[in-house]
């Protein structure tokens, strides 16, 4: 157990498709009266098991709707799996894409503290990292401007800078490096490479085999909620390319 940062054990996740759409009491009562509250079960994940060693960078690939995001949510502890269990050792830092979790009326600076607290870090801890975050995000004087005035690139740079500065044990990156200009992307990739020296485990979701190959050493492929391949990044990327060309 100690050698694994993430242990996903026979995880299945079921959603009730119809119930998701009902969000007013009237709709609920009308449908209940008509006995239309039939739920179609949808399995977003079916018996997925894999382990990620400490310090590994695991690429998660799959077509749209394959269950990648659901898997990340289960690992992050946001969703409780219907069956199975997930064990994560240490602090998880999810990189919040495009302002999710940021408060748009708050300044960049205030959001740094809010974000850190959301991950359970005290203010004093993040104050030490503050200069580093501002520098890496290249926000400069804009750090005191409210977040609503930021561009999407600025927001994702800030998000990436915070998530990587707190030195988490597990870092979740959901298709984030596609935002931002080429220079920042390169800088981010370098930073992730540096982090692996510190034993940080990375989960990286992407459609781009090139990027997965550059960043990750391991990879998995999900298809319709099932784990179809698990192995070295190079082999898996080849396999994924074949799957893409067959489609």
């Amino acid at each position: 157990m100690a050698n694994y940062a993430i242990d996903v054990d026979h995880v299945s996740m079921m959603f009730n498709l119809n119930s998701d759409g009902v969000d007013s009491a009237k709709e609920y009562l009308v449908k209940a009266a008509k006995k239309e509250l039939r739920y179609t079960n949808f399995w977003a994940l079916k018996d997925v098991s894999f382990k990620v060693k400490k310090g590994d960078r695991m690429g998660v690939m799959g077509f749209n709707g394959a269950g990648k995001s659901t898997l990340l949510k289960v690992i992050a502890g946001v969703l409780k799996p219907t069956f199975g269990s997930v064990n994560v050792s240490g602090v998880i830092a999810p990189m919040l894409e495009l302002g999710a979790g940021f408060d748009s009326n708050y300044s960049g600076k205030e959001n740094i503290f809010l974000y850190a607290a959301t991950m359970g870090f005290p203010r004093s801890f993040i104050e030490e990292k503050y200069d580093e975050i501002v520098e890496f995000s290249e926000l400069g004087q804009f750090i005191n401007a409210p977040l609503k005035s930021y561009s999407s690139g600025m927001k994702s740079r800030l998000g990436f800078a915070i998530a990587t500065s707190v030195k988490p044990d597990v870092l979740i990156l959901d298709e984030v490096l596609s935002v931002g200009d080429a220079a920042f992307r390169e800088k981010s990739e370098r930073r992730i490479e540096n982090m692996m020296g510190d034993g940080v485990t990375v989960l990286y979701v992407s459609h781009s085999t090139d990027r997965v190959r550059r960043i990750c050493n391991k990879a998995i492929i999900l298809t319709k909620g099932q784990l179809v391949a698990n192995g070295e990044a190079d082999d898996i990327c080849k396999l994924y390319k074949e799957m893409v060309s067959q489609k």
Binding site: D20, D23, Y28, N87, P94, A116, M119
Partner: protein, 281 residues
């Protein structure tokens, strides 16, 4: 894992996220008055102006009997401060899960932190609003218009304040849970608070309503816990040394019981449903 239901786990989990609670309370307070010219002064101004308006409207209708209502503006302000804390905090907490949907979908956070921080931040601003009451009482005493004899016994206002805090927290947890599943709750609650305003003796004195003892409406008025809370608060402020004569112990026990039961129901309901929140927000 973090979701095991033992008391020790809950406590250590809370300790880990106490910084978040603090940051959220700070945020709510800071953002409330950001972009307004007068900023935090609205905490004082709003209740003061409201008191003046209500005094002008209702003074002639209800305020003439001085044996029951020593000083109508003060009487009004006492009731309104308690009532406003209750409605503001519950309304804010009701929407708190939905308004933090973005983060709840991405990061594991103990979800109760959002309604609790809403109630706490409203509590802080409401306590600051209490200063208005101090100024208004000082004004009447200096101007010698219906002066109010404030004694050390005013400290007993802490009893109704504590009760209204527990009640608001309990109601908040129930509303926050319900709002996740049915957004209609927001509209219904809006109307309900208007009704509650008139069912609570804020602008009128309960004895002057003229409902017969044992009639339906007299029970409705009596069963409203906010009525008891407002009554206790006023007794401490207005009646000074004689406050005990105006302090209804039966009402006090009823209010405490009602609030504690509401709090328990609120937290149980919240805990039973919180894993389903993410499917609906």
């Amino acid at each position: 894992m973090k979701n095991k239901n033992t008391l020790g786990n809950h406590t250590s989990n809370f300790m880990k996220y106490r910084y978040l609670l603090k940051e959220l309370v700070n945020k709510n307070i800071k953002l409330q008055y950001r972009d307004s010219v007068l900023g935090v002064f609205w905490t004082f101004l709003q209740p003061l102006l409201n008191m003046i308006v209500l005094s002008l409207v209702f003074n002639n209708l209800f305020g003439k009997d001085n044996s029951k209502v020593v000083n109508y503006p003060v009487y009004l302000l006492c009731g309104r401060l308690m009532f406003e804390f209750f409605t503001k905090s519950t309304k804010k907490a009701m929407k708190s899960i939905r308004s933090h949907a973005g983060i709840i979908k991405k990061v594991y956070v103990p979800k109760y932190i959002y309604p609790v921080s809403s109630v706490l931040s409203t509590f802080v601003t409401s306590m600051v609003s209490l200063l208005v009451l101090v100024f208004v009482v000082a004004f009447f005493n200096i101007a010698k218009i219906n002066p109010i004899d404030i004694t050390w016994r005013v400290i007993f206002v802490l009893v109704p304040i504590l009760i209204v805090f527990v009640l608001s927290l309990g109601v908040s947890m129930i509303l926050a849970t319900a709002d996740v599943f049915f957004k209609d709750v927001e509209n219904i609650y809006d109307v309900f608070t208007t009704l509650l305003f008139y069912l609570t003796p804020i602008v009128y004195h309960p004895d002057r309503l003229g409902f017969a003892e044992g009639s339906f409406m007299s029970y409705v008025i009596k069963l409203n816990p906010l009525g008891g809370i407002v009554g206790m608060f006023r007794a401490c402020v207005i009646w000074g040394n004689d406050f005990i004569q105006y302090w209804d112990f039966g009402q006090m026990y009823y209010c405490i019981g009602f609030s504690v039961v509401t709090l328990i129901i609120g937290f149980v309901l919240f805990y039973k449903n919180q894993d389903k929140f993410i499917l609906h927000i």
